[in-house]
Assembly symmetry: D2
Homo-oligomer: 162 residues x 4
């Protein structure tokens, strides 16, 4: 049972640019995070996009869906910005692929002290292995179905939509 | 569905002592790791032991079993040294409690650069939520049944015993 | 010979705000950085300002000058944003106080992986102890006189103005 | 005015070995620490030894002295274990080379959370640039003459011998 990990950008993968003082995208941190995690489970890393999720449009979401549809691996983790993670999950959810797809991200970039990124990656990898087919969001130590989740922006947490 | 996280020591929780140059136990790093993980799932932290797992004996394993047996939470993560994680899992497995118990640990202490600890904690928390009743070991991005796992000391990884 | 360390903000002291995704000011990181540095030299920490140095105006620079003038300690380190560090150094330089004043900062925040902040702080503390009276900028492992320094923004380094 | 940085091992440069659980020597962390420090001052790195300073003998100290004597750079930082830093400083001090030699180290390894290593490296680099010819120890934010320093092992700090 092998795993595909798809990078799409988001807070998880932001780097600090010393010249501009901005948080930007560079090569994904995921390959080094996965080495550090000492995973022996066979897995494939796919650097698909490097976007702030507020900059994602329908075309980007279709690209993500295509990657999932064509994936030889049935267990997929997508690292994604939190702001529109729900929207991407919805596109994937409606497609109803016979695969287990788990979206995760971070509230603090992997490279910044006190980041939740590595915890979330571990949590999402386990969820992608253990959940049945379907699409879910793994954040805050919880697993949410794609059609029952929203981001509470004021609190900075994900919660059930109902 | 709430979670109990039990600290027993192990590499995960080692601190560096500047006076002796040794790795030792102090207050567990788990409370701060759990804050950092931004878990909203209700959870309880229990600092039970602070031992190198090579120093664990039958009495210690019975203590761990008692904690699990008396736990009000049915989903339990035990942070444990890797060297005798299998032995503790076996004691818990034979007890056949109607609970989901997942043991995890780390090959590199949480406080040392490049540690796998936070990934493993995330992975184990998801496994403890998603697996059915039983005892397993979550390491290297995999979930092993308590009666089919061994630590390969030369390679520093867990693998199936068969 | 005791030391005064004055925080004024700048990249050195930026925190990540998980709710907005911006780098902002909170309580200075300097008290914990100084504990970590294990300094036994008597020293005083003064949290004076928390500003991006591009937001500093003449009033702020006068405040910094007043702090230096009234300081009971003759050896002063000022942690400052890099963009207008030279301008503040000039105000202090013209005042010609009978004190050793060293400005430093960081190209990467203290709390972000790979930061130069702690190195620069150590470098500046030594310069503040060892240089004679006057005002200098300590960055990039070098000490620049206040009237012979400029920031090369394209390269992200400080260099001689001549 | 260029700088030579000599690695000899010590706590500063200890790595964690996941297979044995011991702190050991690997490739020095200094090259990456120096990149991180964004030093533009010309400098040379020399990986001379990789030893616990308790394992250093007279032959090793002579090697260090030879490196200093033959160094084309007149400003030298030696990263050294703290336990016998004073003894090495004494050998170098008696040699009375016409160079500025500063020994430093760390109470917590560079790769462990809360390390003083990077601060000490910055402090020592400034001292090596700014002090006159002679041998000193830079630790705890202070500069000690080679013949007036001792390590207080109970407190884990360096202090004047008198």
């Amino acid at each position: 049972m092998s795993l595909r990990i798809i990078a799409t950008g988001g807070t998880f993968d932001k780097h600090y640019d010393p010249l501009t003082g901005n948080l930007v995208f560079r090569d994904s941190v995921l390959p080094s995070a996965l080495v550090r995690a000492r995973i022996t489970e066979p897995h494939v890393f796919e650097p698909l996009l490097a976007l702030d999720s507020l900059d994602m449009n329908d075309t980007h979401r279709k690209q993500i869906l295509q990657s999932c549809a064509h994936s030889a691996e049935d267990h997929i983790v997508i690292v994604h910005g939190t702001d529109t993670m729900r929207e991407t999950a919805e596109v994937l959810g409606h497609a109803a692929l016979a695969k287990t797809i788990v979206l995760t991200g971070a509230m603090v970039p992997y490279l910044i002290a006190g980041s939740d990124a590595l915890f979330n990656l571990g949590f999402a990898c386990a969820a992608a292995k253990l959940c049945g087919h379907g699409v879910s969001i793994a954040m805050n130590g919880r697993v949410f179905a794609w059609n029952d989740v929203k981001k509470n922006r004021a609190a900075g947490i994900f919660e059930s939509a109902h």
